[in-house]
C-alpha cells in the first residue's frame, strides 16, 4: 500500500513510518510510572520508573515476556488494576493528569479519549448484547446523540474496520462472528469515539496466522486514516515488525531499551532485546539444514513478481531452492520400519448431543507416521487438526476408515475399553493449555506419577524416584514436585505436561499446540527441550500446531489441513520450498517476520496472492 511505493529498498536506507510522519503533538506522557502488587504482606513491583511518550499518529510497541509488567503498566493508565495494586508516578493525557484523578473524571476519559483493544475478543465482548448495541452504548455514553444517529455512526465504524456486511454484523451476537470478525468489531467499538489514545493489548495473540495478518493490515490502514496514538502491547516481535514506529523493550518491570523500529531490529543494544529477537522462530530457518527462503519459494510457486526485489535476485533465490529440494527428496526415500500411526481414509465426527446433529470434523484423512518421525499437522483453527490428534489417542471415535495406533486397529475400539487402555500405555499427549491440562488441585509430582501408578509400573519409593528422573529430564528442580500448577510459570507447566506424557516411555507422542499459549522466548526454550528429548528418546510425534514457524523447527514431514481435509503433505522442504496448494501458500505468506524489511516483502507478496484471487 503506501509502503510499497519505495522502489529499491536495498539501495536506499530503510525508511520507517516514523521518519515520514511529521512529529505530532504528544498525546500520552508517562513519567516515573511504578506499579506494585500486594502479595502476602509485601509490595511486589510489577513496573518500575517507566518513562515514555506517544505522539499522535504514532505506534509505540511495548514488548516483553508475560510478567514483565507491560500489561500491568498499561492498564494502570486507566485505573483498571485490582484493588491490591498501587500506582505511583505521573500519566498525562494531552497535558491532563490521569493518576489520582476523580473516578468520574477517569470514567469520562475511558472509551472517549482512551480506548482499549483486548486480547480475547470473545471474552471482551458481552455475549448477551449484539455487536451493534455495544457500539451504540459506547457512542451514546460519550456523545449526546439520538439512537438513530448512533446507529448510523456504528454502521460507519463497522464499515471502517472492513467487515464484509456491516448491517449484518450490527445485528449479530459475538458468538455468531468468527474470531477475526469479533476482533474487528472490538476495534470498531474502541474507535467509535475517535480516541486520542488506543491501547492494543496483545490484539492478535488469540488469532490464527492468516487472521492475524488481516487484523494487522487493518490496524495499519487505520493508523494511516486516523490520527490516534497507539500503544501496542505484545510479546511477538513479528507483530511489532509489521506495525510499530518506536519500540520499548520491557524486562522485569524496567524498560531496558527504546528506539525506533529500525534501530531495534537492525542494531539491538541490550542483550535481552537480542535474545528476544533470536527466540522468534523464523520460518524456513532450522538448526541443521540451510535456510529456506520462503518468500522466494512462494514467488516461484505462484509466478508472481515482486516490485521490491530485483528480478534476477529472485531467480537466483528460486534456483537455490530447487537444488535443496532435490537433496531432500533423496533423503526422504530411506526405509523406516512399521508405522506407529496410520490413518486410512479416516473420518471423525463429534457425536450428536441433544438436538445438535453430529458434526463431521475430519474426512478422508490419510497419514502415516514411522518410528522416530516428527510429523507436523498445520492448519487454521477449525480445520480439524486437533480432532485428528484427539482421535489418535482414542478421545474421539473414528466414524469411518481405519486407524492403526502402535500396531493396533483402534477404529472400532470401545470408548474407555480394554483395548484403548492397552494402547494408551504406548502413547503420550501434551495438551495445548498447560493451566487447563494439569489438575489444579493435584501437586505436579502426583500428576507426573499418575500414568506410572495406574499402569502398575511403579509404586511408593520407586515411583518417587522415577518422578525425580522425569523432572530432571525436563530440567525442572526436584523440589517442585509438591507445587501446585498455579505456582509455576507457563513454560514450567508445559514442561510438567511433557514429563507426564513421557512417563510411560511412549512410542507415539501427540502434541496438541503445546507452545501456542506460551511467550515467544519461553516457546523457544520448550521447543528446544522437546527437540532434544525427541532425539534422545526417539519417539514418533504428531505435532499439531497453527504456527508454521514452530513446525518448521521440529518436523520431518508437514501435513496441511483445511476444512477437515488434508490438502497437502510432504517433507518439510517440499512444503516450505515448493508449496503447491493455494491454501498452503496463503498460510506461508501470512507468517510475520521479525524484520521490518523482510516483512514488507512478505506483505506485498501476500497482497498480490490475495489480489490474484487465491483464497
Amino acid at each position: 500500500m503506501t509502503d510499497n511505493a519505495i522502489p529499491e529498498p536495498e539501495a536506499t536506507p530503510l525508511e520507517t513510518a516514523s521518519d515520514r510522519v511529521e512529529p505530532g503533538r504528544v498525546v500520552l506522557e508517562v513519567r516515573d510510572l511504578s506499579v506494585d502488587f500486594g502479595v502476602e504482606k509485601k509490595w511486589v513491583p510489577a513496573a518500575i520508573g517507566l518513562n515514555y511518550e506517544v505522539r499522535a499518529g504514532e505506534v509505540l510497541a511495548i514488548v516483553g515476556e508475560s510478567g514483565s509488567g507491560k500489561s500491568a503498566s498499561s492498564m494502570a493508565l486507566l485505573g483498571l488494576l485490582p484493588s491490591n495494586s498501587r500506582v505511583r508516578g505521573s500519566v498525562k493525557l494531552g497535558g491532563k493528569e490521569l493518576l489520582g484523578a476523580k473516578a468520574s473524571a477517569i470514567r469520562e476519559v475511558r472509551g472517549k479519549d482512551v480506548a482499549v483493544i483486548f486480547q480475547e475478543p470473545m471474552t471482551a465482548l458481552n455475549p448477551v448484547y449484539t455487536v451493534g448495541a455495544q457500539i451504540v452504548e459506547t457512542l451514546r455514553l460519550h456523545n449526546t446523540i439520538s439512537p438513530d444517529e448512533a446507529k448510523q455512526r456504528a454502521l460507519r465504524m463497522l464499515d471502517l474496520v472492513e467487515l464484509p456486511d456491516p448491517e449484518k454484523a450490527f445485528k449479530s451476537y459475538p458468538h455468531q462472528l468468527s474470531g477475526g470478525q469479533r476482533q474487528r468489531a472490538m476495534i470498531a467499538q474502541s474507535l467509535s469515539c475517535d480516541p486520542r489514545l488506543l491501547i492494543a493489548d496483545e490484539p492478535t495473540t488469540a488469532l490464527d496466522v492468516t487472521v492475524q495478518a488481516e487484523i494487522l493490515d487493518l490496524m495499519r490502514h487505520l493508523r494511516n486514516k486516523l490520527d490516534s496514538a497507539i500503544v501496542l502491547i505484545t510479546h511477538d516481535m513479528g507483530v511489532v515488525a509489521d506495525l510499530a514506529d518506536r519500540i520499548a523493550v520491557m524486562r522485569k518491570g524496567v524498560i531496558v531499551e527504546t528506539g525506533t523500529a529500525q534501530q531495534i531490529f537492525s542494531n539491538p543494544q541490550h542483550e535481552y532485546t537480542q535474545a528476544l529477537l533470536a527466540a522468534v522462530p523464523h520460518l524456513g530457518q532450522s538448526a541443521e539444514s540451510a535456510d529456506v527462503d520462503v518468500t522466494a519459494a512462494l514467488a516461484a510457486a505462484t509466478k508472481t513478481e515482486l516490485d521490491s526485489v530485483e528480478h534476477d535476485e529472485l531467480l537466483r533465490r528460486e534456483r537455490e531452492n530447487q537444488e535443496a529440494l532435490k537433496a531432500a527428496a533423496e533423503e526422504a526415500a530411506k526405509p523406516k520400519g512399521s508405522p506407529v500411526l496410520e490413518l486410512i481414509d479416516v473420518a471423525i465426527e463429534y457425536p450428536k448431543q441433544g438436538r445438535v446433529p453430529a458434526f463431521r470434523a475430519v474426512e478422508g484423512a490419510n497419514l502415516v507416521i514411522y518410528p522416530g518421525q516428527v510429523v507436523g499437522l498445520v492448519g487454521e483453527s477449525g480445520s480439524g487438526k486437533t480432532t485428528i490428534g484427539r482421535a489418535a489417542v482414542g478421545l474421539l471415535p473414528v466414524a469411518a476408515g481405519k486407524m492403526h495406533v502402535v500396531g493396533q486397529d483402534i477404529s472400532a475400539a470401545k470408548r474407555n475399553g480394554k483395548q484403548l487402555h492397552q494402547v494408551r500405555r504406548d502413547i503420550g499427549m501434551v495438551f495445548q493449555d498447560p493451566s487447563s491440562s494439569l489438575n489444579p488441585r493435584l501437586p505436579i509430582g502426583e500428576s507426573i506419577g499418575e500414568p506410572m501408578y495406574l499402569a502398575g509400573v511403579a509404586k511408593g519409593v520407586d515411583l518417587q524416584k522415577r518422578i525425580e528422573n522425569l523432572l530432571d529430564q525436563v530440567e525442572l528442580p526436584r523440589s517442585y514436585r509438591n507445587r501446585y500448577p498455579h505456582e509455576l510459570s507457563g513454560g514450567q507447566k508445559q514442561r510438567v505436561g511433557i514429563a507426564r506424557a513421557l512417563s510411560l516411555q511412549p512410542k507415539l507422542m501427540v502434541a496438541d499446540e503445546p507452545t501456542s499459549a506460551l511467550d515467544v522466548s519461553v516457546q523457544a526454550k520448550v521447543l528446544e527441550l522437546f527437540q532434544s528429548l525427541q532425539k534422545e528418546l526417539g519417539f514418533a510425534c504428531l505435532f499439531v500446531t497453527h504456527d508454521l514457524a514452530v513446525v518448521d523447527v521440529l518436523a520431518d514431514r508437514i501435513c496441511v489441513m483445511q476444512r477437515g481435509r488434508i490438502v497437502e503433505q510432504g517433507t518439510r522442504d517440499q512444503i516450505l520450498r515448493n508449496p503447491q496448494e493455494a491454501y498452503t501458500q496463503r498460510l506461508l505468506a501470512a507468517v510475520p517476520l521479525p524484520d521490518p524489511e523482510k516483512q514488507r516483502e512478505r506483505r506485498e507478496l501476500r497482497e498480490q496472492l490475495m489480489a490474484a484471487g487465491i483464497e
Binding site: 511486589v44 510489577a46 491440562s437 501437586p443 498455579h486 505456582e487 510459570s489 501456542s516 499459549a517
Partner: protein, 364 residues
C-alpha cells in the same frame, strides 16, 4: 485458550521466588500426596482450628454432662428432673466471683434445670445436624457427580428423580414420617426404634430430602469440569471413571460442596426447630435447642435467659461449623492468599528476581 493474567503471572513468580528462598535450607523434599498437603494446610488455618476447638468443647460438654446412650453424666440434674425454684429461676452462674452455682443457666417455669436441658438439646441438635450434613452431602455429591460426569440416560434418570423430590413439600413428608414414628403402641421395630431415637429418624429423613439442591450444584460443577483438559489427560494416563470422578473432579468441586453442606447443616437446626415447633420433630418431654427456643418464646420479657443460652449454643455450633467448612475449602483450594495493604512490606526487587530478604512469616 487463555493467557494468564498479569496478576496470576506475578503471583506465580512470587511463589517461585519464595520457594527458592526456602529451598536453600532443605535440599531434598520428599513427595507429598494431595491428602497430606490438604491436611497440612487445614491445620495451618487459624479460623478452622478455632472452630474445631469450639465444636469439640461443645461436643464433650454436651455428651458428658448429662450423659448419653444410657450412660450417666457428671451434672447433678437431668433434663427431666424438676426441682424447687432457686432465686425465681434466674441463672446462678456469675463471672465475678467466678462461681457455677446451683443452676448456672437458670431454671424454667416448672423448675427444670436449664443447663441440663441445653446440653440435652445440644446433643439432639448436633445429632440431627451431623446426620443431615453427612447424608445430604454424600447423596448429593454422588448423584450430582454421576449425573454430571456420565450425562446421557444416567443424568436423565437421576435428575428427574431429583426433580420429583424437590416438588414434594418437606413438611408433608415430615408429617407422614412423624405419624408413623409416633405410633408407639404398634410395637413394630420401626416404632420402637423411633420412640427411643426419634431424633435419629428425623436426621436421616431430613438428610434424604435435603440433598437435592446440592446435587444440582455439583452436577453443574461437574458439567464444566469434565470438559477441562486435565480430565482428558487423566483418561490418557489410564484412569478409570471412578478415579476421574473422585480423585480428579471432586477435589475441584469441593468448594461448592463444602459451602453448601455447611449451609445445609446450619439450616438443619432451624428446620429441626420448625418441625419440632409443629410437633413433627423432637417431642416433649425430650428437648432440642430449637424446641427450647420455641417453647419459651412467650417468656421472652420475663425470663430472657431461657432464650439466651439455647440461642448462644445454636450460634456457636453454626459458627464453628461454618469456620471449619471455610478452612476445609481453603485447604483444598491452593490459590488462597490474603493481602492487607497497610501492613505490607516494601520490596524493591521485581517479582521475577529471587529475593534475598529474610523469610516473611507466611499467612497460613
Amino acid at each position: 485458550m487463555s493467557q494468564p493474567t498479569q496478576e496470576e503471572e506475578i503471583l506465580a513468580q512470587q511463589a517461585l521466588a519464595e520457594a527458592a528462598a526456602t529451598e536453600a535450607s532443605s535440599e531434598e523434599t520428599s513427595g507429598l500426596s494431595q491428602g497430606q498437603i490438604v491436611r497440612k494446610r487445614f491445620f495451618g488455618h487459624t479460623g478452622a482450628l478455632v472452630g474445631l476447638a469450639v465444636l469439640a468443647i461443645i461436643l464433650v460438654l454436651a455428651f458428658t454432662s448429662v450423659g448419653a446412650w444410657g450412660l450417666p453424666g457428671w451434672w447433678k440434674y437431668n433434663y427431666l428432673d424438676v426441682s424447687p425454684l432457686v432465686n425465681d429461676g434466674a441463672p446462678t452462674a456469675s463471672l465475678w466471683p467466678l462461681a457455677w452455682g446451683e443452676h448456672p443457666f437458670g431454671q424454667d417455669r416448672i423448675g427444670r434445670d436449664l443447663f441440663a436441658m441445653t446440653m440435652r438439646g445440644a446433643q439432639q441438635s448436633i445429632t440431627v445436624m451431623v446426620l443431615i450434613g453427612a447424608i445430604a452431602g454424600a447423596v448429593g455429591a454422588i448423584v450430582g457427580g454421576l449425573a454430571g460426569y456420565f450425562r446421557g440416560w444416567v443424568e436423565a434418570v437421576l435428575m428427574r428423580l431429583t426433580d420429583v423430590i424437590i416438588i414434594i413439600p418437606v413438611l408433608l413428608l415430615a408429617a407422614v414420617v412423624g405419624q408413623i414414628a409416633n405410633r408407639r403402641d404398634e410395637g413394630s421395630w420401626f416404632a420402637s426404634f423411633a420412640s427411643s431415637n426419634g431424633v435419629v429418624i428425623l436426621g436421616i429423613f431430613l438428610g434424604f430430602v435435603s440433598w437435592v439442591g446440592l446435587a444440582r450444584l455439583v452436577r453443574g460443577e461437574f458439567l464444566t469440569l469434565r470438559e477441562r483438559e486435565f480430565v482428558d489427560a487423566a483418561r490418557i494416563s489410564g484412569a478409570s471413571n471412578a478415579r476421574i470422578i473422585f480423585k480428579h473432579i471432586l477435589p475441584n468441586a469441593v468448594g461448592v460442596l463444602i459451602v453448601n453442606v455447611t449451609l445445609t447443616m446450619s439450616a438443619a437446626i432451624l428446620l429441626e426447630t420448625a418441625l419440632s415447633y409443629l410437633g413433627l420433630g423432637v417431642h416433649a418431654p425430650d428437648i432440642s435447642l430449637g424446641l427450647l427456643v420455641a417453647q419459651n418464646q412467650e417468656a421472652f420479657a420475663t425470663r430472657p435467659w431461657l432464650f439466651w443460652f439455647p440461642g448462644l449454643f445454636i450460634i456457636l455450633i453454626c459458627l464453628s461449623i461454618n469456620f471449619i467448612g471455610d478452612g476445609l475449602r481453603d485447604a483444598f483450594d491452593p490459590r488462597q492468599k490474603k493481602f492487607k495493604a497497610k501492613s505490607a512490606v516494601e520490596t524493591t526487587r521485581h517479582s521475577s528476581t529471587t529475593p534475598v530478604v529474610p523469610n516473611v512469616p507466611k499467612e497460613q
